[in-house]
Amino acid sequence: MPPKISSDWLGACAGCHMSLLDIDERLIEIAEAADIRATPITDLKRPDPEGVEVGILSGAVNLSTHVEVAKRMRERAKILVALGDCAVFGGVIAQRNLCGTLAALRRAYLEAESNDESAQIPEHPDLGVPEDVRALHEVVPVDVFVPGCPPHADVIFYVLNELAHGRMPEIKDENLHWE
């Protein structure tokens, strides 16, 4: 049985998943070696309840709903991968911790020069409640850290290929980048 791989994003810009798509035709190799399940770019939206071998999360935890997504992935995945700087340490999004979440929301949704009088901070049950930005490993235990903003496509392929073949990737030397 090929290993099941599922992914999701938290507070992210989607750049890490874009970089994942940048592995180009090697995506087919991964799809042949592994069973790609729920991802933001496939039809399934949640990891299988009966579990997956590999769960991949990009983005930082910055909404109450992200905590639920992170915990569900952790519970269902044998190996949890933090993909990209936001998941690894908070990333660009964590800058809002320097001014506070409310100040950041006000600046973006109310005070930005491009807003008009109808501007309001969005509220919806699906969004949950905004929180201070946390790295994934502050919320659930992480098995593999893949830093980078975004991680290079070659690094992502290395990680997926190792996991697809039942090996633990080692992020070091030529596969370790912080920029």
Binding site: V92, K172, W178
Partner: protein, 638 residues
């Protein structure tokens, strides 16, 4: 020489050095952040810890001296664990966002250390406290969020530059790098030399102009020379796609040992003058674009007629090769009586150069090591800043300063003794001083007897002589100065103007320029600034030709204008104030269609039928008693 063991290797090392230096000398890499080769050890970051047999605790290798039989291990599990803890705490302490930092990707010592330790995440998350970003400086930005408190900048500003602008405020996690104890950097005493930025191991101190313009890995390093003054500082030009991106310290440069001033490191990036890109010839009263052939022929045609009624003026920013050929073409070829350089003379220097014995002649190394310095008619701070650093950094503990001037004179407030030295006072001051220590009652002058006492008690005194030493070639003052030097065993350092000022003296170009009665004037300006009075003085010259890099009031009034390369685009030799001959190589290609001054001189010689030798070395031989040879260290990219 003690013998020590590092990681099982038996090494013989010089005594008195630290374990870190010993390891580096033998190619054993120990990660470090606060340590910097040219600064005193600090032991602050603790990244360089090692195991020393017999020590219960890990030791900072940057501060512990080598001892006979010492056994050191740099790569044990305990050491690696300590390193990772240090790095984890450094990243966890402030706010490091590598993804958009200017130095990320190879130029950050902190990131490089983390990558070497294979850190894929931070063991401790930051508390996300915001720190002050100071963007008040015209050239630089300070981001305390990226500061690791290593104090390299503080030490560099103090120990190397002697400006002491930087300091630390508060304690613990609140510690902040601060200029003048709380001023915005841009309003502080900072002299904009950029040494702190150069030594910063992170992106806490960055240059505005070079940010995101190319990391070291994306640029080429071209060793070169600053032509701003006669100190002749070595530097490294970082070039990307034939564009100058950054000027960096060249720590192995023999003259300045890595130090640069605002002029050398930053001014070229803030050039506001407009570049000349095509020859111009005056037709119907207006300067119009022309071909090089037309422009050269027009000049030759005029010079053929003006002949010995031609005056010629050259910049001392140009290489010796240019100065020599220029002098020969105009003085020997055209028999012009008025061939000079823009500086128009150092009245006292020819006589002093002739009189100085090798024992009395000072080099910049002597200024660095002097315990008493007498400055006469020189403004080291503004005219020769790096030489000024060598003096300032030793004040007040290591060096006593006797300055001719007032408290308002640069360095006046730092002087131990101020002496009156205007006009005739210089002579009487020198005569009184040269007689040595006398009692106050005897001389009736406290300052003079204090100065004499300082000189008397110094073991390595030197006298720095600038252009303003006397009003003119005053033989009595020169004699008194030489006697003073003899009496106190002092060496004499003569300061000159721009890069090839001293070579200009050797070629006989340091003389007053008087264009009255001349029918044609040729100015080889290069990338120099013609200065304030020259346009007015050349206003009534019947024919003015000029080769210059930049448009100016002077080029606007010329009859023929030839574009010139910049100092970075033209190689050649320079004789610094010590008499050290250094070679610079062109690092950039000039814009398309710009010919060098040497090509112009050769072409004019050809058109005038004057044989022109390009020999330039003979006149420079022996100016320094054969002490220096051409410094090849500057010409190789080691």
């Amino acid at each position: 020489m003690p013998t020590i063991t590092i990681d099982g290797q038996l090494l013989e090392v010089p005594s008195g050095i630290t374990v870190l230096r010993a390891a580096e000398m033998h190619g054993i890499a120990i990660p470090k952040l606060c340590d910097f080769e040219h600064l005193t050890p600090y032991g602050g970051c603790r990244l360089c810890v090692v195991e020393v047999q017999g020590s219960r605790m890990l030791q900072t290798s940057c501060t512990i001296p080598v001892t006979e039989g010492m056994e050191v291990r740099t790569d044990t599990p305990k050491v690696r664990e300590a390193r990772r803890l240090v790095l984890g705490m450094l990243f966890g302490e402030r706010n490091h966002f590598c993804m958009y930092c200017q130095v990320s990707g190879g130029d950050c010592d902190l990131q490089n250390a983390a990558l070497t330790e294979q850190m894929d995440h931070w063991p401790m998350q930051p508390p996300w406290n915001p720190y002050l970003v100071d963007a008040s400086h015209p050239y630089f930005v300070l981001d305390n969020n990226r500061c690791i408190l290593c104090r390299r900048c503080v030490r560099a500003c103090d120990e190397l530059v002697g400006n002491r602008t930087w300091g630390m405020a508060s304690r613990g996690a609140d510690t902040l790098l601060t200029a003048d104890n709380g001023l915005p950097w841009g309003e502080s005493s900072c002299i904009k030399c950029g040494t702190c930025v150069e030594v910063c191991p992170t992106g806490a101190l960055i240059e505005r102009h070079s940010a995101y313009q190319g990391l070291s890995a994306q640029t080429e390093a071209a060793p070169s020379l600053c032509v701003g003054c006669s100190v002749g500082c070595g530097l490294t030009l970082r070039v990307r796609d034939n564009r100058l991106v950054r000027i960096q310290s060249r720590w192995e440069a023999p003259v300045n040992h890595g130090l640069l001033c605002e002029e050398g490191r930053l001014r070229p990036f803030y050039e506001t003058r407009q570049r000349l890109d095509t020859p111009l010839v005056r037709r119907d009263g207006a300067l119009q674009a022309a071909t090089w052939k037309e422009a050269w022929e027009r000049i030759a045609q005029e010079l053929r007629v003006s002949a010995e009624k031609t005056a010629a003026l050259i910049s001392t920013r140009l290489p010796a090769e240019n100065l020599a050929a220029f002098t020969r073409l105009f003085r020997e070829g055209l028999r012009s009586p008025m061939v000079a350089c823009l500086e128009e003379g150092y009245p006292t220097h020819p006589a002093l150069e002739r009189s100085l014995t090798p024992q009395r002649r000072a080099a910049l190394e002597d200024l660095r090591a002097a315990d008493c310095v007498l400055v006469l008619g020189a403004d080291l701070v503004n005219r020769h800043p790096v030489a000024g650093f060598f003096l300032k950094r030793n004040l007040p503990e290591k060096t006593r300063l006797i300055l001719c001037g007032t408290p308002e004179t640069p360095l006046g407030e730092k002087a131990d003794v101020l002496l009156p030295c205007t006009g005739a006072e210089t002579l009487s001051t020198l005569r009184a001083l040269s007689k040595g220590v006398r009692s106050e009652a005897d001389s009736g002058d406290t300052a003079l007897s204090e100065a004499a006492a300082l000189l008397q008690s110094a073991s390595a005194p030197i006298v720095v002589i600038g252009r303003g030493f006397t009003g003119g070639a005053n033989e009595a003052s020169i004699a008194a100065l030489l006697r003073l030097a003899e009496n106190f065993g002092a060496k004499i350092l003569l300061l000159y103007g721009k890069a090839n000022s001293r070579a200009a003296l050797a070629y006989g170009l340091q003389q007053r320029f008087e264009p009255a009665g001349m029918e044609a004037v040729f100015v080889l300006l290069g990338d120099d600034d013609p200065g304030g009075s020259l346009p007015e003085r050349l206003r009534n010259v019947p024919f003015l030709a000029i080769q210059a890099a930049w448009r100016s009031e002077l080029t606007a009034q010329a009859d023929v204008v030839l574009p010139a390369p910049l100092w970075t685009e033209q190689g050649g030799h320079y004789l610094n104030l010590e008499g050290r001959l250094q070679e610079a190589r062109a690092a950039l290609r000039p814009p398309e269609g710009i010919h060098t001054p040497l090509e112009t001189l050769q072409r004019l010689a050809l058109l005038l039928g004057i044989p022109l030798s390009l020999e330039w070395q003979t006149a420079l031989e022996g100016v320094d008693g054969g002490r220096w040879t051409v410094d090849r260290r500057l010409t190789t990219d080691d």
